[in-house]
Amino acid sequence: MTAKSQAARLELRGVTKRFPGVLANDNVSFSVRPGEIHALLGENGAGKSTLVKMIYGVLSPDAGQILWNGAPVRVDNPRAARKLGIGMVFQHFSLFEALTVLENIALGLDAKIPQNKLEAEIRRVLDLYGLKLDPRRIVSTLSVGERQRIEIVRALLLDPKLLIMDEPTSVLTPQEVGQLFETLRKLSAQGCSILYISHKLHEIVALCEAATILRGGKLVAVCDPRKETSRSMAEMMIGGNLKEIVRSGGREYGPIKFEAMKLSLSKRGDFGVALQDLSFAVRAGEILGVAGVAGNGQNELMEALSGEVLASEGSILLEGQGLGALGPTERRKRGLCVVPEERNGHAAVAEFTLALNGALTARRRMGFVQGGLLNMGRVRAYASKVISAFSVKAIGHQSTAGSLSGGNLQKFIMGREILQEPRAIAVSQPTWGVDAGAAAAIRQALVDLAARGCAILVISQDLDELLELCDSLVVINLGRLSRVMKVGEASIEEIGLLMGGVHGETTPEVELAHQA
């Protein structure tokens, strides 16, 4: 429609944003041409989300200018952004579970369109971009990929000139990612610019025409991904050389240490997933990865392993002993430790000091409790030990968990469990939302732990991480595990298919199972 004119669709000049204690964006300038698919690249904490929130009007810059089609604008709030023609698909969806797709979309619109007209409009957009979605479904019954489509349709209904996508593929199977890319290419061909935020380098190489790289709030590079490699962009992102994980070659595995035997749990709540005859076996010194798209039972599996939800005695075994009916404290005493996905509010309590957070799980196994009372001296000493052993950037054991950055808190949590010298450990999303330095340290710590004979289970949505870290792999889908594959044997395609169940869509019989 429009010839690629020289005037930028969007331009940022010297944009700066400060929060207490951190300079989130420091004098950032870049521009996006009409119809361009432009990547905004950087690791977690580099300032991408903050920058984009300013473009969308959720935050306002402390300094600098935003120009739209060459003219300076002030984007006071998301409504103003939408009026300009900027649409945004957030990483975390703004959906109302109890309402229908139609109601959700209606809420996101500024204009008051009567519901039947709106429904027709929605169906038109869905057809135009080849998306599949039923406007009358209640959101809580939808898969994550389908929920993302609601967000996309919301943005598309505005007929946007700039579409911002914030980490869109972390919740999709490889096939769904392909479909998303098709939709984005169609949009770009029609003159809509796309600002694509991600830290997934191979996707950016595949999709984008230009990339702006942020590090520590500053703009460090602008490049054309089509001319770069994943590795070169990674080095620009991190600002140094990538460290390889050090693994002692030719490891021997010991006997089977940690297993699940036909673990079954019925579905809890409307949005839960039932675990069905789930079995795995991890040997001493082995790292088993569990790949899968979010929402397929990972949380349920973790709860069963930690003891937050009780199962039958023989369904979870540590060195042959049935632990399934024991609570978390008992399991830790026997040597099974667990790190759940959520740092805040689950693995740690933000308002508590690191010392107390240490006592959260270690208090019995490490002997802090005497006569019902906590030996605060030992509690504090342990926390200090974790802090120094894992290079946690904190003032000391008296710092609150909430004052730590994501990476540092994750290091503390992992350290807290690892220093208990568990016999087996299960971790979920060990490096989600963590900067590259901390992520590398955490992965190295896991590898070292395995070398000491621990049996490790890693659940992650990051396939790259699993392939790097694990010895063998299974895929979890709708509460079931696939066959075990040795890393290096299975292809990404096969894994993707297993993750998606049946090609990413739900077949009728699977859907019925989902509602059972």
Binding site: G327, A350, T400
Partner: protein, 361 residues
């Protein structure tokens, strides 16, 4: 100009200590203004309510008498408040405690021995806990909101008191007044413990405050209660079950309220009548918050609120303010402590135009 509240990175220790004091001071100021506006001598009313009881030693036994039950009940409530288990029905458990003691008193009215009084106290504690038990059970089993269930039971307890005192437990020699027979000497607490004119309940309150501090700050159980209230998912992860916390905190707060109730009746006046319900169960909620959910703070807050009760009575005679005055001041203290509580976690920031000038509070 924009006023914003920003999250602090660390809780402000200064504000933690100052906020209760600030709340009381603000209450005095605003209270004086309100009463002046309504035509009373505002500043004098505040003087009488807050300072006269402190400055007049002959009023101290009165203050102590009111402080003891407030502190006892509030200690129990605090544990629950930390776990976010809201026991609003302490008044009912307090009544049941008194009834439990009265029941034993009636059974033993012709007996003698040093075992009678302890038995009454045990009965009172058990009765209070028993009245709290259904609340815990309903919440765990059916998810019934404990605020509503505990409160409904207060009204039931009031009716129970009414029935017993006007019916089966009425003093046959009492000229048909709705009251129980006066307690025998075996059934009453000593008036002059340690040579001081303070009710024994006060010493019990101090001792239990220490015990509660130990449990809350240093025990594994206390840690669990805090985690359950702060982050329920983390609590389960740490091996604490919410249902256990609901049972233990409700039973403990019921027991404490029951203890306060039976101790109240075994004072020198020693009997139970329709005038017994005094609202301590509700005022204790204010004590708990004003004391920042900390046993030491609760002792101080209990004393402050007891002062306001006694002072309120004084002010009624000297400044002619109505009886509702004490309650009004107590409510204001709660408002101000809740408001100043916010400043512990958040910082006040005033922005002028595009430049920021931080007004720290």
């Amino acid at each position: 100009m924009r006023i914003r509240l920003e999250k602090r990175r660390e809780l402000s220790r200064v504000m933690l200590a100052l906020s209760p004091i600030g709340a009381v001071v603000m209450t005095m100021i605003v209270g004086a203004i309100i009463f002046a506006a309504l035509g009373y001598d505002g500043p004098r009313a505040v003087m009488e309510i807050f300072f006269t009881p402190v400055l007049a030693p002959y009023k101290w036994p009165d203050v102590a008498t009111k402080a003891a039950p407030l502190i006892l009940i509030a200690l129990g409530l605090t544990l629950g408040n930390q776990a976010k288990v809201w026991n609003i029905g302490a008044e009912g458990q307090y009544l049941l405690g008194a009834l439990g003691g009265a029941g034993v008193a009636i059974l033993t009215k012709d007996m003698h021995g040093p075992w009678i009084l302890p038995l009454m106290i045990v009965a009172g504690v058990a009765a209070g806990a028993l009245w709290a038990a259904p609340v815990a059970w309903l919440r765990n089993r059916y998810g019934v909101n404990e605020i509503l269930s505990s409160l409904m039971l207060v009204y039931v307890a009031l009716q129970l008191l009414n029935y017993l005192v006007t019916g089966p437990w009425k003093d046959p020699n009492g000229q048909n007044f709705p009251q129980t027979a006066p307690y025998t000497p075996d059934q009453k607490l000593p008036a002059d413990l340690f040579g001081l004119p303070f009710p024994p309940g006060l010493y019990v309150a101090f001792a239990l405050a220490l015990a509660f501090w130990l449990v809350m700050a240093r025990s594994e159980f206390g840690l669990g209660v805090r985690i359950v209230g702060e982050a329920p998912k983390a609590a389960r992860y740490a091996g604490y079950r919410e249902s256990d916390a609901v049972w233990s905190t409700m039973l403990i707060s019921g027991a404490m309220a029951g203890l306060a109730g039976v101790l109240e009746t075994t004072t020198q006046s020693g009997q139970l009548n329709l005038g017994f319900p005094s609202g301590y169960g509700f005022t204790a909620i204010i004590v708990s918050f004003l004391g920042r959910l900390h046993p030491l703070g609760i002792v101080l807050a209990g004393i402050v609120l007891a002062i306001s009760y006694v002072g309120g009575q004084v002010a009624q005679t000297t400044v002619h303010v109505p009886s509702a005055t004490a309650g009004l001041f107590q409510a204001m203290m709660l408002f101000f402590i809740l408001a100043s509580d916010v400043l512990v976690r958040r910082r006040l920031r005033i922005e002028w135009g595009s430049r920021t000038a931080a007004a720290r509070a």
